[in-house]
Point group: C3
Chain length 351, copies 3
């Protein structure tokens, strides 16, 4: 695919503008990436995780991106740097294969007359763009995206196919939003009256900063009153739920299936593991790490690594027994209390 794209580069071209030192042949031709354990001639790889260091001396890759300390074990060309994974990320961009849409608006797209689409934006087939919506320079909307009224999508932001953006959502620059993501859906506000639930209108917006990534089928609800806010540099994986009026601080990241309930504020630089659940109306401090599967029901005020929940894996048979043991803890406590009394009695008599 992507046949018009040059796919061969000299090592020196790839290294340009990166803070790296080339060891070996700067004219070596690189035409793709590979893993270090399955190295392929003509391709570039990286070494970051020490578990993979054993593959370094014998990899068939034509270049390894690595740290100074590993360079002497490398028998092929190397790019020496401080952050090999980051340098790999930059170089891998040369070999991307994603669709490149034509500039302009596809003839099948339905764009409201009052929408303002930058002439250097790319709007895919069957997109729908609402009233007074603005699409920035070099923004890309994959096919089938539906963008509501009054939306702003910043420069160089990319929406993959089939993304849905509700009205009045603001998205910054250089964001990537994956297919199936829903931004600006109503928060879950319901009010009971005479035994019946009534939907509470959700009148706020979603405001997303720059360099934010949002994964496939992730949902970000609009604010009830006021906005749901996702700050610059936040990275969200697939199938995440962000409730109304949540705020996620700069540069925080979350793995799949996490859920953040309404009005909760997440600090900067937090790391949220997969399937973490956070109740509403609390706050999580900066630099907090929540490990996978953790449930958070109170504010976390200090940086640190926090966990809750399940113990380790067991055979189902042992697990059933352990569940029974857990459920009998009340009895165990009272047995220990009884023992303590009896011991006290016996010891008294002794003296």
């Amino acid at each position: 695919m992507n046949l018009n794209k040059k796919t061969q580069y000299k090592l020196s071209e790839l290294a340009e503008s990166l803070d790296v030192t080339i060891k070996g042949d700067p004219d070596c031709i690189i035409e793709g990436v590979c893993t270090i354990q399955n190295g392929i001639e003509g391709r570039i790889t990286f070494l970051m995780n020490p578990l993979y260091a054993k593959y370094l001396p014998n990899t068939s890759a034509s270049c390894v991106i690595l740290q100074q300390g590993d360079a002497s074990f490398c028998a092929t060309n190397a790019l020496i740097c401080r952050d090999p994974y980051y340098v790999y990320a930059k170089i891998a961009q040369y070999f991307g294969n994603a669709a490149i849409l034509d500039q302009g608006v596809h003839s099948s797209a339905v764009v409201d007359d009052t929408a303002v689409v930058h002439p250097e934006a790319r709007i895919g087939a069957n997109c729908v763009i609402g009233k007074a919506t603005k699409i920035g320079k070099n923004a890309v909307l994959g096919p089938g995206c539906i963008i509501g009224d009054g939306v702003e999508i910043g420069e160089a932001t990319a929406l993959h196919a089939n993304v849905t953006i509700y009205h009045d959502v603001i998205i910054g620059q250089n964001c990537v939003i994956a297919s199936g993501a829903i931004i600006g859906s109503d928060g879950f506000g319901i009010a009971k009256h005479k035994g019946i639930w009534h939907k509470v209108p959700q009148l706020g917006r979603v405001v997303i900063g720059d360099f934010v990534d949002i994964g496939a089928n992730t949902c970000v609800d609009r604010g009830a009153i006021g906005d749901t806010v996702i700050e610059n540099g936040v990275k969200l994986d697939n199938l995440i739920q962000v409730g109304h009026n949540v705020k996620i601080g700069e540069n925080s990241a979350s793995a799949a299936f996490s859920g953040i309930s309404g009005s909760t504020e997440i600090g900067k630089n937090t790391l949220i593991g997969a399937r973490v659940g956070i109740v509403g109306h609390i706050s999580i401090a900066d630099n907090v790490v929540l490990t996978a599967g953790t449930g958070v029901s109170n504010s976390v005020k200090e940086p640190g690594i926090y966990s809750s929940g399940m113990a380790g894996l067991m055979t189902n048979k042992e697990w059933r027994k352990n569940c029974a043991r857990i459920n009998r803890l009340a009895k165990l406590y009272s047995r220990v209390k009884t023992l303590e009394k009896e011991i006290a009695k016996l010891s008294e008599r002794e003296e």
Copy 2:
């Protein structure tokens, strides 16, 4: 946005037809909503949660919806009523900002000749409507909705953009279905034969009552034989899974990520917290509350609040230790048993 909509109302207009008493100036002009803590002149707010009562005397909002008991602490106009959150929900509708589609069928929509779309329905761009499907009066289909054959969508029901409705799904009146929701997908029925899984056809329907809300990217599977049923007034949040042949009773509500497995029946007025998992083929009584994260593996026959699962949040270090303690419970039990025997022996000797 929404520029054609009147956005200024007298307090008396907003109060009309609601069971409220106006305290203060009925001619006060209201042009939006705000929170009580961030009150804004010209806007209306509400007080429900006692935690926010401290903001009442000094809020800058021009009107607060509140209960009689709070009225004397309110320095501005007030709407006195029994259910402030419900009254707020009704009044907030005046300030909604969602897209208003034009009446009729958008020229880009693909509607089968045998479909019956009410002339006062609104069908958005790029919708697809199948054979013999009926769309009721004032129903709204946002752009990109795909509606299968033989579907019925009742009066005033709204589907947001990019909703998918499979064939033979029946949806009542005044429902709201959010983007990305999938209604009528096949249930997960597989039969093993000679070591290979075979898909079991799912021949039932989904039947949804009136005033049902379904959240973004929520999935409701069709019945295998017979129907999956969601009764009147049920409210489902985002990213929920409803299995085949599930029945959810009137006026029940569920937060995000809950999953209800096949053939389970949920009673009326139940509350299902986020990430609750319920196994198949059981029943949950009316008025049951299941707290967030709970796993339910047996029928619940009595109303009440039920829970299971994870204990509270700890530092990761303490949690690891506690997991180890839990995994060593078998040994603890036997240590206590040994102690009991020894004590018994000692006590015997004493006597």
Copy 3:
């Protein structure tokens, strides 16, 4: 619906080519399916779960698919076989009601000139098909499917409405992919550099075998380097997350909400319960069963049934107490240790 389809069959027609014995009238007319407990004349049902055996003698169904051992309790016609649920699955196909698209490409679909669509494929309204993509014979794309560049979709594979397939995804024959599924989205690869997260390009593919089913709103990420692989006969339920470079072995099945993190390898014939979470970079042996809600943080090397996590359901009050007990386990252990020392001391004195 589906009015052109014959919906009446003789029992002998339905039994043709299946390994069954007809007991009773082979000319009995069958026009649909029913459950055994709600049997309907003219319809066929099956008996598999012994819990339902009590309904067999009195069911109103006109035929029951059952095992030899149950045949004598059946008062109506029967199809005797070894795998009643499998035979039911085969027969139920005659009564399917799903949309049958017209052969060929719908006029509203946008198909790139370089795509190759088999003339006997069926492409629904508003589909978008990318460059150099190949759609096989008898493949069906429901309305609104978006297929990227360089994709291959095999013979007789069906995509329901609104499926999104990214570029360079390979899908085999006879697969079924439900609405809202996203195949080939970017894996969650991010690299930190000077305190900022950077997206790592995801350059691999997704390669899916034959007879694979993928549920509604399930996400399968493309590989980072190399491919994400789903082997023949794998069955995935709704709302599942499959991370980059995961491999799922032949004939494994997973219930909803399970999540498999990056680079993990799942063996053949595994069964993954609902809401199971599996960390990255581990492997799960063939024939492993993971029960619902289990978290797996280390490789599982032996076949067997494994579990972790929550204990059984309790009233919320009892659960709160039990959580407190669990959180006080450290103290309980030290109390028992103290008791042991005291007992030892007392016993010593005795001797």
